[in-house]
Symmetry: C2
Subunit: 674 residues, 2 copies
């Protein structure tokens, strides 16, 4: 008889390999299958994200159909059909029924799916909860018929098993359909397939998405544009944030003859000159083949790379949403609420985290019908995918919470945590690899580089907000004064006229003396005959004014506008038009207008009005022309502007508040960005 | 020439397998290696958790040494040594340098490590950031010398590679040491190794843990108890929450001859009778071998199991912290702050999520030096491991945020979100499988069953808090009144006496007439001569009182107490002692005391005082005896209590507030728990 096993032997006997499918089956919450409601959303998401990625790669306009129907009390059937290029028969089993298998993990460009887990995880969950196979139908253009496969995952081996196979006719030239029966629960509203698809439609206006709900309701998110988004190109790794081990892999895999060539051709951002200089700094020569570089040398090379002045990462691997779509997307979401202020969307230049380029975009909306007494709303996106869960775990939320919004005009208890107020913040993180907190890809993990960019983008948006709020309060004050004067003066005049037995005089000069402003009114009408924007400018100042009036219109609708009179200048690409107004004496008034065809997608809020030739303190209803507009103004306007500035400077009392404000703004810029 | 590849072919050519090591290397944030500070903590955590698990399994008192030293500017060396049973030579490479390999994944009992990822992930990160191998030394009792292996992970294959191998002498009979050099940053304070080890020591008082910091500072968390925690036994899966696929695996793997035997012997919670009944309900017979049950039959069987009246899950697989350690742990953390109230720790009975037993424990502390104007502090634990990151993503935090704490006496804006106030909440989730949000195991995922238990446990603790706050405010009012009377009456008396030219009278009867309370003072002294607790009871009521006085002392120090006079009853196991006080006429006073040896670990806050024989409205400085104390009171006390109750009932004005309060309490119980 052998002696009884020792403790170490007993423990050793229990050691064994864990299949990745077994692991995720037991830890399905990590993949986003915590409960039946979330399982449904994750399934829809993985199907749709795959479809959109395939279409984008093949340069096909996406047509996505999501059908959800009831199977039994606690089971739903989910079918996602895309118009993508289809999948070759031999790849179907691995793509749908094997975890950690995919085409986008090793690529270096922005995509929705990156892990090779998503759709197979949904198949795994369906197998587990209903023991039903996944049914995949796919047709590629070069074949006559579509293949239909029924698949399950052998979890102990993490391998696909084909349960049945057939061919069928398919009514479009190419595409893929995946059908699953799973334990799930359908909800509408928060964290629902509906909300996810709506968010997806906002940032993917080139996609047509149809949702058929279990009760038969059919919701269509129509394609808003037939322009495909720019191709996110395959890019090379950037040295910033690269770890030693990763550099080692790149060196080992390199076919280049020397290190200089490796640095300039297998990495991005290194010029030939920089390569020479940093090799010298690291004490390395160009002669050795990259694969032969020793560990110590790699270490020196990496340190030299991190210290070197490299070219900023290329944005070619990225596919940002862009200002226009951010603004339009927000308008779609907020339509009815008619916010008073859309901050110009902020788009930061690309930066690098762990060798992967990324960029941050922020949109901010304020006022109107947004609830004033609740935490601000947050719309999070990563690589054009809406993030609906784990808001509290997300670097985006944390960056918002860590900013002191009290300085920018929002309420915030103690200067941290989610601010309160009538605002909505949209944040998009785009990267060739977004670092998610887990495989469910619902929250961006903390990363010092990403955090810095998030903070800078949010600060930039927040500064716009502060300027708006501050101007608004000054304007509100002036408007109120103006309204009171316009209401009371006529009554006063009437009474006085009656007493002295004379006719009621023209009150404009009196208003002028009290107000000392140029008032811009911008009435806007939209009906079945068309959309009409009008502007009326009245000079309630005691001086003659020479003014230039500017309007900024969304560039996509700009070509539809019919102006009257014809503008003195236009910059159609930016959606800008401007007029030199007729000289306006005290109490003088002028008007102009333009119109769009019926049903044009434009609102009063989309138009921004600016005036040059007058200082901020004397204008009501429009903003002074921002400094970054590259417009050559007529000489008369330049002179008028200079005169107005001199006037404002001389008039200490009026100008004082401005000066202080600007100083505060300038110092805030310095302390935040340096 | 062959035709150019079609789009589907091009995409297919990019499809490939992803090794799990490659996946996690690229997504190291998922494993808790987001940045150098967190990477250090995660490394320490994985090393220590492994050591504690190994010791617990081998029934060895853990001795853990964590040494952190500086290697270069951005690199630290971390060595974790444990006194565990050691690891057999042949298992060392797989345990330390292969992901998804381990002994605890397939077991069904509570352990810190469950995934077979942790320590290998730390090795992977060290390899990646410094290209240095891990150095593992391990000795098992049956061998003379220790094995020393240097290991790296071949990430493309997820296989260990032994770089060097040696043997060495080891000065203890068994143990393991793992040494890593990694890119890391040392901090003290929040989310530091120090905080993690302190938290670990709190809930693992049987472990001795030593931390050597980079500056040479040596911190020792001394063993507070030589009792090993109860063994968490291997248990069978419980049918509640089991998915169809999981039932399928169990059936397929079962060696039982019939279904009834399968149900009663391969699952827990199913009695022989229930097994018969549910087989009948599912329309199944006992004859077929479990492995032959068809899909449809499995479905019916599972539905019958979910509907059946099963025996509650066994707590044997779990190792809760327990009330005494929770209270002591909190005292250790909060020592200096001297909170005024330690809520009796709440321990919920075991429940099941997804087939895995779990239980929730909650401790709550209030007042004293805890900051009153900040969010409450939260200490989260899972399977005796402190959770320091991702608080916002954790089901524990969410359960706290979703409770309306305003009803329990804390501030909370809008009735949700983290409450504010001088409170600290400790929550422990223990399970044979804790569902973490990701592989870094820093947050518990949302699960309806766990959420329900968290909510019930928090509500139970919160009700104690409400009772405390409400009593306190009434007591504060009485105390204040008492203090004023004691200050003003003598002055009044002195002045009056002076005026009428008489001596100052005894004021006790006057105080009695105004206050109508029995006052209990409990002065507490602790110095180098010992610890002394005194009680003084004064009857400021106009009636003679027959009272029983109770004290509750932490059971571990109870045997050290020397009472004077000897109590009339003790229940040492529960730390309780009581005395029948001498009959106290109006204005009568009596005292008693007890003492502990010098340095006994007991504080004024640890003693709870109760009085029987009088109603709540007439007692100050002690609580009425709780109803759940199973103590046989002397006949005189029972009669006195009944008389006092009748008296209180007759006196509507005094009793009214109580009645309302109790009704509110009762209705709250109903609405929350039903």
């Amino acid at each position: 008889m052998s002696p009884p096993p020792t403790i170490a032997q007993q423990l050793a006997a229990k050691q064994r390999e864990i299949s990745v499918a077994e692991f995720f089956e037991r830890n399905r919450q990590i993949l986003g299958f915590d409960n039946p409601q979330r399982a449904l959303l994750t399934t829809v998401k993985e199907g749709v994200d795959n479809g959109l990625d395939a279409c984008d790669e093949a340069r096909i306009l996406p047509d996505i159909l999501v059908e959800i129907s009831k199977e039994t009390d606690d089971r739903l059937r989910v079918a996602v059909t895309d118009s993508g290029p289809g999948i070759l028969r031999r790849e179907i089993p691995n793509v749908f029924a094997r975890l950690l298998y995919g085409s986008r993990f090793h690529s270096n460009r922005q995509a929705r799916g990156q892990q090779g887990i998503g759709i197979s995880a949904a198949v795994l969950y369906a197998n587990l909860t209903t023991a039903r196979p996944a049914r995949v139908t796919s047709k590629v253009e070069e074949e006559e018929a579509a293949h239909v496969l029924e698949l399950v995952i052998d979890t102990q081996k993490n391998q696909p098993r084909v349960v049945s196979e057939d061919v069928t006719l398919w009514d479009s030239p190419h595409g893929t359909r995946v059908e699953l029966v799973l334990k799930a629960r359908y909800v509408r509203g928060r964290q629902s397939p509906y909300e996810y698809l709506r968010g997806t439609a906002i940032v993917n206006p080139h996609a047509r998405i149809v949702l058929v709900e279990p009760d038969g309701t059919r919701v269509t998110f129509e394609r808003a544009s037939t322009d495909l988004p720019p191709v996110a190109k395959e890019t090379l790794p950037h040295p910033y944030g690269l770890e030693l081990g990763e550099l080692g892999y790149l060196l080992k895999a390199s076919k280049r003859s020397g290190l200089a060539e490796f640095l300039t051709k297998d990495l991005q951002g290194v010029s030939a000159r920089t390569a020479r200089e940093l090799l010298a700094a690291a004490g390395l020569t160009n002669s050795a083949p990259p694969a032969s570089v020793s560990g110590d040398e790699q270490d020196r090379l990496l340190r030299a790379l991190h210290d070197a002045p490299l070219i900023a990462p290329s944005p070619e691997g990225l596919s940002p949403i862009g200002s226009i779509l951010i603004k339009r997307g927000l308008r779609n979401v907020l339509g009815e609420l008619r916010p008073e202020f859309y901050c110009p969307p902020v788009s930061r230049p690309p930066k690098v985290h762990a060798g992967f380029p990324f960029m941050v975009e922020v949109g901010l909306v304020y006022g109107g019908g947004l609830p004033a007494d609740q935490p601000v709303q947050i719309l999070r996106f990563a690589n054009r995918v809406p993030l609906l869960f784990q808001q509290g775990a997300c670097a985006i939320t944390n960056a918002i919470s860590n900013l002191d919004w009290r300085r920018y005009g929002l309420d915030q208890k103690g200067g941290s945590g989610l601010p309160s107020g009538p605002a909505l913040i949209l944040v998009h993180v785009a990267s060739t690899k977004v670092p998610f907190t887990n495989e469910a890809k619902e929250a961006v993990a903390e990363d010092p580089e990403i955090d810095k960019e998030l903070t800078l983008a949010l600060q930039a948006a927040a500064r716009h907000l502060r300027t708006h709020i501050s101007r608004k309060s000054r304007r509100d004050f002036a408007s109120e004064k103006f309204a009171i004067i316009q209401r009371i003066l006529p009554k006063l005049a009437e009474k006085t006229s009656h007493l002295v037995g004379k006719g009621v005089p023209d009150l404009t000069p009196v208003i002028t003396r009290i107000m000392d402003i140029v008032n811009v009114e911008t009435p806007f009408e939209s009906d079945k005959n068309g959309v009409r924007a009008k502007v009326e400018v009245t000079n309630y100042t005691p001086r003659t004014r020479v003014l230039e009036l500017f309007v900024e219109i969304p560039p996509d609708v700009f070509p539809l506008a019919v102006f009257e009179p014809v503008p003195d200048g236009v910059e159609a690409a930016l959606g800008r038009a401007w007029w030199t107004l007729p000289k306006l004496g005290p109490n003088g008034r002028t008007a102009l207008s333009f119109s769009f065809p019926p049903k044009t997608d434009v609102e009063a809020n989309d138009l921004d009005w600016y005036v040059a030739g007058i200082d901020e303190a004397h204008i009501l209803g429009a903003e002074p022309l921002p400094g970054d507009w590259d417009v050559r103004l007529p000489r008369t306007i330049v002179e008028a502007a200079e005169a107005a500035a001199a006037d404002a400077a001389a008039n200490g009392a009026t100008g004082e508040e401005e000066v202080d404000y600007d100083a505060a703004e300038a110092s805030a810029h310095t302390s935040e960005e340096d």
